[in-house]
């Protein structure tokens, strides 16, 4: 069968697209992909036929165990790992496990029953393993109790394996799916009565199971945020002033007037401009053709060389420097040593370079604000949506997709959501998908901070270390994102890499006469974790 794809959308009005006879926006008979089938019943508590045993576990009549996950999946395997932990305590059949991400709107509506959704710093599993295991264990206890009630036998006489409950004394057995509706009506056990398994008895948790998210990633069916298709969707390409601290001065919209599919130009904020069109490529091509004048501002003359010199000064400066560790007298020990060694190291600003470029889709109606995004913290995304749109949190929802990489770029810094909202405000009721170019991604990150480091060491005649002096000069993440964490001008976090055991220990040796110092030398470039 021959299909026709075409687009008759020429010269649409400035803020509205005419839906042509053969064209519906840019989504030409493409079908739509809404990956979130989360039942609305879950926000309404226990209802008839409801098989939600507790917030973490839903057992369908066919014994499928749906395990709810609050943390984000960006390739690190957290979804599978958390499901393993719940499954271990639940004693369900791993082959019948499905995972279901929750949304921050649901979490809010249920008084944060799923707790923290933030995912970063390798904390997804270690930060929630105890309470998700308790969730699995509580569900198991309720399912067993439901069977005990049905058979009128003491619950202690029941055993369970792979979701099959057995009463050996009477030779009866049933499955989780058959008792889940009854279990859902029981009072949850007191948290103190829940006894978790000894990890030495684990059969599923901590084992190298196959990941649950692989199949759609080998046939193109995994729907990343950038792949979202919604009815009447518009597409936006975006460009911010190439110099941080600069501003958008002007642009000449007449130069792109009449371009196929282009709906108009939106000033996103005082540094950023976007072009909106019925496909993203048309928006991006029009943005490339749009004459833009930037006011590059006070940092126009900053360069890699000026920043390097700024940091180099900090390697030897006596001002605005503090010592974190000062054991013995490192400078004296090094000066008196038989042999002195000195080296200077540097690290550049590092872009996170997620494979999936920054993007989100925002839809604003009179009483609802929604965002679809790849986020390491869906609650932060929803908060940014609420703040930027003015819509109360209770009328906001954020749908997190499996991320095409996170690396810290998509957690606390929700710049892309705020931009998406600012664009969508010009098109009420219509979803607008904003996608950054790779060039924009490289130029507008919250970079890993630039630094220089001078190591001075003294060795005795036998080559043993007698003193080590570490001076770091560079930018502070806290100064940019969380200045309240800096006390008396001292950002000790920036020397975390040199902390001693216990904790985040990086120095694994006992060093006589050790000094670590930090000279905070900030620049105009945004930095982040």
């Amino acid at each position: 069968m021959k299909k026709t794809i075409s687009d008759n959308t020429t010269n649409p009005s400035r803020r509205k697209f005419i839906v042509g006879s053969a064209a519906a926006g840019g989504g030409l008979a493409l079908g739509f992909n809404l990956p979130f089938g989360f039942e609305s019943a879950t926000a309404q508590g226990v209802a008839a036929g409801n098989t939600e045993v507790n917030a973490w576990v839903v057992v369908k009549p066919d014994d499928t165990c749906v395990i709810r996950i609050a943390r984000a999946e960006m390739g690190q395997g957290t979804h599978t790992g958390l499901a393993q932990l719940v499954c271990e305590e639940l004693e369900c059949d791993w082959k019948k496990v499905e995972i279901q991400p929750i949304t921050p709107g649901q979490n809010l509506a249920r008084k944060r029953v799923w707790r923290d959704m933030a995912t970063g710093g390798s904390s997804g599993i270690r930060g929630s393993n105890d309470y998700v295991r308790q969730g699995g264990a509580a569900a198991r206890m309720m399912l067993l109790q439901a069977a005990a009630n049905q058979w009128n036998v003491p619950v202690g006489e029941l055993t369970v394996a792979n979701g099959i409950i057995t009463h050996a004394a009477s030779g009866r057995s049933t499955s989780y799916g058959k008792v889940s509706a009854a279990a859902a009506r029981l009072t949850p056990p007191d948290a103190k009565s829940i006894k978790l398994k000894d990890p030495r008895q684990w059969k599923v948790a901590g084992k190298p199971m196959k990941r649950l998210d692989t199949a759609p990633k080998v046939n193109g069916s995994h729907v990343y945020s950038i792949d979202l298709k919604l009815p009447d969707m518009l597409h936006a390409a975006i460009k911010a002033c190439p110099v941080y601290g600069g501003k958008l001065k002007s642009y000449d919209e007449s130069k792109i007037a009449g371009r196929l599919g282009v709906g108009g130009v939106v000033q996103v904020n005082d540094v950023t401009v976007a072009v909106v069109a019925n496909t993203w490529w048309r928006a991006k091509a029009a943005l490339d053709a749009l004459p833009i004048v930037w006011d590059e501002g006070p940092n126009a003359k900053q360069s890699s060389a000026t920043i390097a010199a700024h940091l180099r000064e900090g390697l030897t400066s006596a001002s605005n420097v503090f010592a974190d560790i000062n054991d013995g007298n490192a400078p004296q020990a090094i000066a008196a040593a038989a042999k002195k060694v000195e080296a200077v190291y540097s690290t550049p600003f590092l872009s996170h370079a997620c494979m999936e470029p920054m993007n989100c889709t925002v839809r604003l109606t009179a009483d609802k604000a929604e965002v679809w995004m790849p986020s390491q913290n869906a609650e932060a995304s929803m908060a940014a949506l609420s703040t930027a749109s003015g819509m109360p949190l209770a009328q906001c929802e954020a749908y997190n997709h499996g991320l095409g990489g996170g690396f810290g770029r998509r957690g606390g810094t929700q710049d892309f959501v705020r931009q998406g909202v600012a664009i969508a405000q010009h098109y009420p009721g219509r979803p607008v998908k904003m996608v950054w170019t790779r060039e924009e991604d490289q130029a507008h990150d919250f970079y890993r901070p630039i630094s220089q480091c001078k190591l001075s060491a003294g060795l005795d005649p036998g080559g043993n270390l007698v003193g080590l002096h570490i001076r770091v000069s560079g930018q502070s993440i806290n100064a940019w994102l969380a200045p309240h964490n800096i006390k008396d001008g001292k950002d000790v976090r920036q020397l975390q890499g040199f902390w001693k055991a216990p904790g985040d220990a990086q120095i694994g040796y006992t060093v006589p006469n050790l000094m670590t110092e930090y000279a905070m030398r900030n620049t105009h470039v945004p930095v982040g974790p």
Binding site: I5, G75, N219, Y224, W281, G402, G405, G406
Partner: protein, 177 residues
């Protein structure tokens, strides 16, 4: 212009300079092929054009007219291509964003060179993976090629493959080769 994508014929009335990637994603609705860099560097947009791997972000759609385009969605009906099966077996993807392109590049390599060495794989597979799945990609290509033992590296997630000395030994063998 006439397009043939995954065996389906299309009459495409779009700008001839539009990159094939965006015709696939925004007009045909095949979003398995990814935008990563837009300048043919990262390979996330790799598709087959008459069997050759091409980077669709930098190929005008007009250049595909009259040729056979195959995307990740058309590589097999049911993820049964040997490369997809090996990818599943070894849990190759992490975030997965680059993997459509990786799989298409690997399938094109094996079509030309059914028994590639590690060197052949490294030379042909120039796609970027930000998660760093390169070792498993290489192992999965060997698995798909049936060269999983003796000729290259194998890293298994769990048990060692039958007849091998285990994953560590296999990696060591590859390192010496």
């Amino acid at each position: 212009m006439r397009l043939n994508v995954n065996g389906q014929a299309y009459e495409a009335d779009v700008e001839p300079e539009m990159p094939l990637l965006w015709a696939l994603r925004e007009f045909i609705g095949l979003t398995g092929t990814k935008y990563g860099c837009g300048i043919a560097q990262c390979g996330a947009c790799t598709v087959h054009l008459d069997g050759e791997p091409v980077r669709s972000c930098s190929l005008p759609v007009s250049a595909a007219a009259g040729k056979r385009v195959v995307t990740i969605e058309g590589l097999s009906r049911d993820s049964s291509h040997p490369v997809q099966k090996a990818w599943l077996e070894l849990d190759v993807p992490q975030c997965g964003y680059c993997q459509s392109g990786q799989i298409m590049a690997a399938a094109a390599l094996l079509a030309k060179n059914p028994q590639p060495t590690d060197k052949d794989i490294d030379a042909a597979m120039t796609n970027i993976c930000r998660c760093g799945t390169y070792q498993r990609i290489r192992a999965a290509i060997h698995m798909a090629a049936g060269t999983a033992t003796g000729r290259g590296s194998v890293i298994h997630m769990g048990a060692a493959p039958a007849g091998s000395d285990g994953p560590v030994a296999a990696v060591n063998t590859a390192a010496k080769a």
